[in-house]
Amino acid sequence: MAELTKEAHELTVSLDWRERHVSTIRMLRLYARTFARNGSAMLGLGLVLLFLTTAAIGPYFVPFPDDATGSVHIERKLQPPDAVHWFGTDEVGNDVFTRVIVGARVTLQIACIITGVAMLIGIPLGMIAGYMGGWVQEVIMRITDVFLSVPGLMLAIAIVGALGPGIVNAMVALSLVWWPGYVRLVQAKTLSLKNEIYVDAARSMGAGSLRIVFVHLLPNCTSPIIVKASMDMGMAILGAASLGFLGLGAQPPFPEWGAMISVARTYLPDWWWYSFFPGTAIVITVLGFNLLGDGLRDILDPKHRE
Amino acid sequence: MTDQPLLSVRDFRLEFDTFDGVYRAIDGVNFDLIPGESLGIVGETGCGKSVTAKSILGLVPTPPARVVSGQILYNGEDLLTVGEERLRALRGVEIAMIFQDPMTYLNPVFTIGQQLVDVILAHQRWRPSEQRLNRAQARDHAIDMLSRVHLPNPERQLDAYPHQLSGGMRQRVLIAQALSGNPRLLIADEPTTALDVTIQAQILDLIAELMGEFDLSVILISHDLGVVASLCQRVVVMYAGQVVEDASVTRLFSEPGHPYTQGLLKAVPHPGRAASTLSGIPGTLPNLYDPPAGCRFQSRCAHAMPMCTTVPPLYAVADGQRVACHLHAPEASRAGVA
C-alpha cells in the first residue's frame, strides 16, 4: 500500500505547468467570466487600461513634450481648443492636452506611492496586531484609532502645512493618513482568520507564528486588500488632487491634475477648458478605479457575489 | 380522516438558472399527504428535500429558480399558480413552517415578543373583522403560544432577544410562532439538526404533542433516519431531486425497496447495537447540471442494468410501499425492455 504505484509516479513527473495549475487556471477563467459579465466592471477595467496605457506611452506621443516640464509661450496663452491644441492652452501658452496626458503618468506614480506606502505600513502592523493580540494589539489599534479620530484630509493638511507644500510632502502626508485604514482592514481580517480551523491545524503541525502569519494568513487576506487597494488608487488620486487644489500639493509646472485645476480655477468660467479637461481626467480615472474595485469585490468577495 | 390528500405534490420539477448552467434540482417529485398524517422526507445533502418543502410555500426565490412543471395541490388549490397574495394568506394560517437553525431564522435585532406579535397581527388580516385581535390581545396570544410550547417564563421571554435564548428555546419560539395562526399543516425542515440529542428529543416530543393538540398534519424533513423514524408514520426517500421510495416507516426499515434506501440503512451506525461492519455507498452524487438519463442512482447502484437509463416510475410494491426502481418492475416489462 505504501509503495508508490508506477503510474502515479509518472503522473507527477509528466505533469506540465498547465496541468499543475489547472485549478488556478479554472479559477481565473471563472473570475474572468464573472468579470466579463459585469458591464460596469468591464467599463472600469477599460478606463483603467486606458489610463495605464496613457501613462505608459502617452508622454512619447504628445504634440508638445516641452510644455509638460514648464515652458512659456505667452504669445499663445489661453487659446480655446482647436485642431492644434485639442484641449486649448493654459495661462502661459502650454498645451493642455500635453499636460493632461503627461499628468496621467504623474498621477499614476502618486497613486501607486501613496497606496504602496500605506500598504507597506498598514499590512504588517495589521497582521501583527490581529495575530499577536494582547497589549501589542491594544497599542497598535489605539494609535490607529487616534489617526482615524480626525478627518484624514484635515490631518493631511496639518502635516503638509507643517512640512510645506509640494508633491513629495503631499504624498508623505497622504501616506501618513492612509495606512490606518489598512491596519483596520487587515487586523479585522486576521482576527477572524486566526480562528479558522486551518490555522489551528497549522499550529497543531508545529508551524511557528511567522509561518502562520505569512504562509497561512496573508494569502487569505489578499482579496480584500486588492479590492481596497484598487479603490484607494482612486481615492489617493482624489486626495492628492484635493491637496493640489488647496495649493498644498504638487506645484506648477509639475503637470499634476489637481494642481492644474488649482491654478485653472481662477480662470473659470471664461477659460473653462483649462480646468475642465484635467477635472474630467480625474473623474474618469477615479471612476475607472472605483468600478474596477467594485468588480473585483464582486468576484473576490463571495459575500457580495450575486 | 378522509383519504382525500391535504397536500399533493405532482410531477414537480424545478431548475435553477445559475452561472454555470441550468441546475436541475428537482426532477419529478410525487407524494401525497393525508390529513392528520406525519410524513417524513429523508435524503442526503443536495437531494432537494428542502427546496421541495420551501416550494410548497413559494419561498424559493424565482429567479434563479424556475418551476418547470408540476402541481402542488393544497386542498385542490395549485400553490404554484395562485400568486404571492394568496400564498401570503395561506402562510402561517393554513400552512406553517419551521426551519433548521433556530438562530439564523430569528431576526437578531428584534425581541421574541415583537416578532411573535408581528406575525400574529399579520394573520389578523385574513380573519373576519369581528374576530381580529388587537395588539394587546396579540400579546396575550403570544404568551399563550409560548406556554403551549413549554417555554418557561413566557411573559419574561417576550422581551428577550434571540441570542439570549438557548437553541432549544429558540426552536420552541419558532414553533410557537409557526403555530400561532393555528395552521393545519406544519412543515418542519430539519428542525433538530442544529440541536443536541437531549434537546432534539425534547423538540421531537413537543412536535408529537402539538400534532394532537392542534390537529396538525406534519411534513418532517430530515437527513437522519432515526429522527424520521421516531416521529413519522410514512417516509419519502429522496435522491438527487427524485423520490426513490415512499413507504410506511415499518415497511421502510424492514423491507427497503430501493438500492439507495438499502445502502443508506447499511451506512448508518446503530447506537443500540454492537458494532458489526458499516458500508458506505460508493461513488458520489451525479452532476445535476448534466444529470444522467433515467435513474439518477444508476452510477452508484450495484444492481444497475441497461433498463436504468429510462426513468423508473414509482412501482407499487406492497402495503402502500412504492419504489422508483426497475428492480421492482413487473417481470414482463423488465424482460420487455431488456
Binding site: 512659456v72 495649493g247 509646472p253 | 426565490p61
Partner: protein
Amino acid sequence: MRTEYDGKQGVLMRKLFKLTLVAGVAAAVLATVSPAVDAFERRNGQKIMVMAQRQAVPIMDPSIKYDASIRTMQQAMYDGLMKYTGTPPTVTPWLAERFEASDDGLTYTFYLVKNAKFHNGDPVTAEAVRWSFARTLKLGKGPAWMLNAFLKAENIKAVDDHTVSFTLDRSFAPFTSFLPWWYIMNPAQVMANEVDGDMGQKWLIDHEAGSGPYKLRRVEQGTLYELERVQDYWKGHKGPLGGIIYKLIRESSAQRAALMKGEADISTGLSPDEFDQLAKIKGMVTSTEPALTAFGIKFNTQGKYTSDKNLRKAVAYAFDYDALVKIYNGRAVLQTSPFTDSIKGKVNVPNMPRQDLAKAKEYLAKSQWPTGGIELEYVYVQGLEEERLMGLVLIDNLKDLNITVKMVPLTWANMVARGSKKETSPDMIAIFATPVSTDPDAVAIQYHPSSHGAYYGVHFYDNPEVTKLIEEARFTGEWEKRAPLYAKIQQMITDDQPEIFGMMRERRIVYRDWVKGFEYSPVRMTEEVDLYPMYIE
C-alpha cells in the same frame, strides 16, 4: 437577479417614491426663493459700498499689524497726524494742521486741528497723540520698527491740548514721511477695555477707538466687516455714502462674478487676465495707475550658489524681461534702476541687464559652475498668480544655462520667515517691495545690512562701500548733496546684481461706474484703497 418581492413591490415603491418626492419638492421650493439683486445695497435709505476682497482683516489694532487689507480698514477708522495723498505722493498734514522741525532736525512740533473728535465724542488731544505713539512703541509691533531706533516714548510730550512735540535721538530726514503709518487712538476708550494689562490689545482686535470718517458697525470674522459713516466727521465727507461693507470673497472667479452681478462695487487683487476681462465690460471703471512698488527676484548673496556674482549676472542676463510685461498684459514697465520711478533722486542706470543669452553664458563660464548643472530654488507667495508665472518664465529661461529651477510657493509669512536668516534664505525670492516713503532712503536702506532679515533684506547684500554711502546720504540734510550719493548707490547696487531688477506694475483696481471719488496714491500698499473720498452717485 430580480428579487422575490414582486408582489408588494408596487406599494413599497410608491411609498418610498412619495417620500423622496416630498423632500425633492421642498429642496426645489427653497431653491427658487432667490432674493433679487440690486445694483447697490442700501441700509436705512443710504447707499452702501461693497468691496469684494480676498484678504481678511483679522486684526484692526493700529499698534499691532498693518498690511494692505488691514490698512484699508484702519485708514477709514483712524486718522494719523499725516496722510499720503495724490500722485506723485505727498505727505499732507491731517490731524496735525501743521508742524515745525527744529534746525538740528531733532525736535518736531505738531499743532493739531481743534475740531477733531473721536467716535465717542471725546476730542482728539495732544495727550491722545502722545499716548498712541507711546503705546505702539511700547508694544513693539506693527509700525514700531519705523521709529523705535531713534524715538523714545518718553521723548514725546503733550505741550498743550493741541500741541505735541517729538524729540528724536538723532536727526532723521524722512521722519515725517513715516507718520502716515501711525494712527491715533482714544486712550480713554482703549484703557476702559483693558484686560490683564494688555493695553486693550484684545479689545482692539475687532473694535476701534478712532476719529476717522467711518466707524465699525459690525465684524463677522472671516465673512465681512461693515463700516458706518461718521456723520459729523471733523473733516467732512466728499459725497453721499452710508457705509462700506468689506466682504471676503476668496475665490477670484467668485470675486469677479460678484462685481459683474452688482453684488460688489469695487475689487482689487484680480489677475491681469481677469482684470482685462472685466475692463471690457460696460459699467466697469478701472484704475491702472503706476505704483511705487518694485518687483524683483532677490538672490541670497550669501547663499550656496548665489553668493557667486557671476552666476547672479548670468541668471540676470538669461531672464526674459519682456515676459514680465507680457504677464501683465502690458500693464507694467521695466525698472531702469534699483529705485522705482516715483522715488526722489532716481536715475536711469546704464547697462541694466536685459535678456542676452551670449552674455549670460559668458558670465556663467566665469562662475564656479561654468556648465550649470545646478538647481536653484525660487520662492514665491502662494496664490500670487503673477509670481508663479514669473517662476515659469525663469524655469524656461534657465534651461538654456542648464540650470533647473525648483518652484516653492509659501505664504507670505512663511516666506519672510525663511528669508529672515541667511542660512535659510532661498536662492531666489520674488518680492514686491513697496517703500513706505518716497524718500530715496526708504529704498536705499533696503540694501543696508540693517535690513537683513526683513522681507526686503532677504538678499543679505553687504557691500561695505555701499553701506557707507547709504549712511552718509541718510543723515545728510541738503538734497543737492544727497542726490549724487544716491545716483552712485544706484549704479553700485546694479553692478553687484543682488537681485534681478524687475518692473513696476500698474495697480489694478476695478469698480462700478457709480462709484465716485476714487483717489490714487502710489505709496499705498498694493491692494490698499483709501475709502475716505469715495462715494456712490
